[in-house]
């Protein structure tokens, strides 16, 4: 024990050096660089490096489009995340008991989660096509007449379209994690088949839920963070449109930086986002005792 715990003085630092160097190189250094830029008036076309004080940060508060994009992000999050969680939990219960072929079924269900989000978005773009896509066709069967819904353009349908795609891709993620968590709970408590409804709910509320809570909260944290930075699916489906209706904070930051070339202002937005996230994540990590 003593030999392992007291290494040759610098060995443990040599081990960690390359990783820390790389994280500083592409993590911290660019941040410091852009912190400096955020106090200037640099655009991609003009390199005015004179000190501009807090101009860009003041502008944040007057930028309605920015706060709307934050609102859009939260809207998607508060709808998609609970659905993914509840649907994932229900699916986990469905597959909890042994059944022949379970392994195969579970692997098939998990496929959406491992494909690239941009491919998922592209796939749903094809599915949602108003004329040649199967979704309108299927809806048309039920409606009894052709339905030419413009899912990625119609203001009333773009959010459902994005949220469908998001739920389709990430519910399996929740499902898989919750299935594993439930499998670790004492079987007699989770066997819904054997006990009546009221007792099932009571045991779920007081025994099962506390048991899976640590894992569940990590899954919620991971998904919550992913939803906060949602970009790929939206880029593929609507690119933020119509107008700026589905522009999330990530899409807006991208547009400011790489379409409008507002370098200094984009840097300020990035810092706003980082500040918001740092507060939330630090709180969540302490709260959940993730830091051990």
């Amino acid at each position: 024990m003593a030999a392992i715990a007291h290494p040759d003085r610098n060995f443990k630092y040599w081990l960690i050096l390359p990783a820390v160097f790389l994280l500083l190189l592409v993590g911290l250094f660019p941040l410091i660089f852009s912190l400096v830029v955020s106090f200037m008036r640099v655009t991609m076309l003009e390199t005015d490096t004179s000190f501009a004080g807090l101009v860009n940060y003041v502008q944040l508060f007057h930028d309605a489009r920015l706060w709307q994009s934050l609102l859009h992000t939260l809207l998607i999050m508060v709808i998609a995340l609970p659905i993914e969680l509840l649907l994932g939990l229900a699916m986990a219960y469905l597959f909890l008991d042994r059944m022949p072929g379970r392994q195969l079924l579970v692997s098939l269900l998990v496929l959406p989660t491992i494909i690239s989000p941009i491919v998922a978005g592209a796939t749903w773009r094809l599915l949602f096509d108003n004329r040649y896509g199967p979704i309108n066709q299927i809806i048309g069967w039920f409606a009894g007449h052709p339905v030419p819904a413009l899912w990625t353009v119609n203001p009333g349908l773009v959010y459902p379209a994005i949220i469908f795609c998001e739920i389709w891709q990430w519910t399996p993620f929740m499902f898989l994690i919750l299935l594993a968590a439930l499998s670790n709970v004492d079987r007699s408590l989770t066997e819904a088949a054997e006990i009546d409804g009221a007792r099932f709910w009571r045991s779920f509320r007081y025994v099962v839920l506390p048991a899976i809570f640590p894992v569940m909260s990590i899954a919620i944290l991971i998904r919550g963070l992913d939803l906060f930075r949602i970009f790929d699916i939206i880029w593929a489906l609507t690119a933020g449109g119509p107008g700026t209706m589905t522009e999330t904070i990530s899409v807006y930051t991208y547009v400011q930086g790489f379409k409008q070339f507002e370098s200094s202002y984009t840097a300020a937005i990035a810092f706003l986002v980082i500040a918001l996230l740092t507060v939330i994540v630090t709180w969540a990590i302490r709260r959940m005792g993730l830091a051990k």
Binding site: K12, I16, P18, V26, L105, A193, S250, I274
Partner: protein
């Protein structure tokens, strides 16, 4: 159902579960089926109204076009970037994880700082990195993206490998030290072999995360190292005649992921849950 014998009820229940399971599988797999189906369809079938539910014959013309135009090269770019960065991330990440697991280097703060790096939204980092890379001349180069993917994979690798390394009994390392191995030899001869399955599983997920990246590739590539995810979006702008290309390119980029994950089923849970559940 009150009077039914117990085993009957159980059977009905099983049938019901299968029905629900089948329904779910259809819902979740159909979009992927549709993507594959389009990639094999002829233009006439893709733009048929009402839609054609399956291609009449399997033809590879949509793929042939990608190879003829050189677009398929972007899958090769993805392959180079993802595998090289995974290789470096695994080496640097595992030795760092060993340091954290065994010597508590930097206390808990360093561990939390490392994991918090992964929680930052890529777009907030992408812009600063872009400015930095312009200055270095690293935009649209292999080295630029490899370094970026390596660094971005490190928190995941360190977090996962720390968990796997903590499961290795300390006695093995001690006896190796007593047998005259030096510290580095302990790493290569004891830790790496003992953590082999963890290394393998972590590497695959690291590879998949880099492989699926879109935002960094969009921002930091132009023409030379375009990845397949960016290439897929290049077909978006034009009118619907690019559908076959969208589908075929997506399938080319998806098959490698399906194959790797299929071979690694037993690590799936732990891999995607960042070790929250020991799979």
């Amino acid at each position: 159902m009150k009077g039914a014998p117990f085993h009957r009820r159980k059977e009905t229940k099983l049938v019901l579960r299968y029905l629900m399971a089948a329904f779910l599988v259809v819902i979740f797999v159909f979009p992927i089926y549709w993507l594959f189906a389009i990639s094999f369809k002829t233009p006439g079938e893709i733009f048929a109204f009402p839609p054609v539910w399956y291609p009449k014959s399997i033809q590879f013309n949509n793929y042939a076009v990608l190879f003829k135009d050189g677009d398929a090269k972007t899958v090769g770019n993805s392959l180079v970037l993802s595998s090289v960065s995974t290789f470096f991330a695994m080496i640097f990440g595992t030795i760092a994880a060993y340091s954290l697991a065994r010597f508590k280097t930097g206390g808990e703060n360093l561990g939390v700082w490392i994991i918090s790096q992964r929680m930052m939204p890529p777009v907030a980092i992408a812009f600063p990195i872009f400015l930095f890379y312009v200055w270095l001349g690293w935009v649209d180069t292999y080295i630029g993206l490899i370094i970026l993917y390596t660094a971005f994979s490190l928190p995941y690798v360190i977090w996962m490998m720390r968990g796997y390394i903590e499961e290795i009994p300390l006695e093995l390392e001690e006896s190796a030290l007593i047998d005259g191995c030096n510290r580095w030899e302990v790493l290569w001869k004891v830790v790496f072999p003992m953590a082999r399955s963890g290394l393998f599983a972590t590497a695959v997920f690291t590879f998949v995360f880099s492989w699926n990246d879109f935002l960094f590739a969009l921002v930091l590539t132009r023409t030379e190292v375009t990845t397949y995810t960016v290439q897929v979006t290049h077909y978006f702008g034009g009118q619907s005649n690019f559908w076959s290309k969208i589908a075929a390119m997506s399938v080319l980029g998806t098959i490698p992921v399906f194959i790797t994950v299929a071979t690694l089923q037993r690590y799936l849970v732990r891999g995607i849950s960042m070790g929250a559940v020991k799979g």
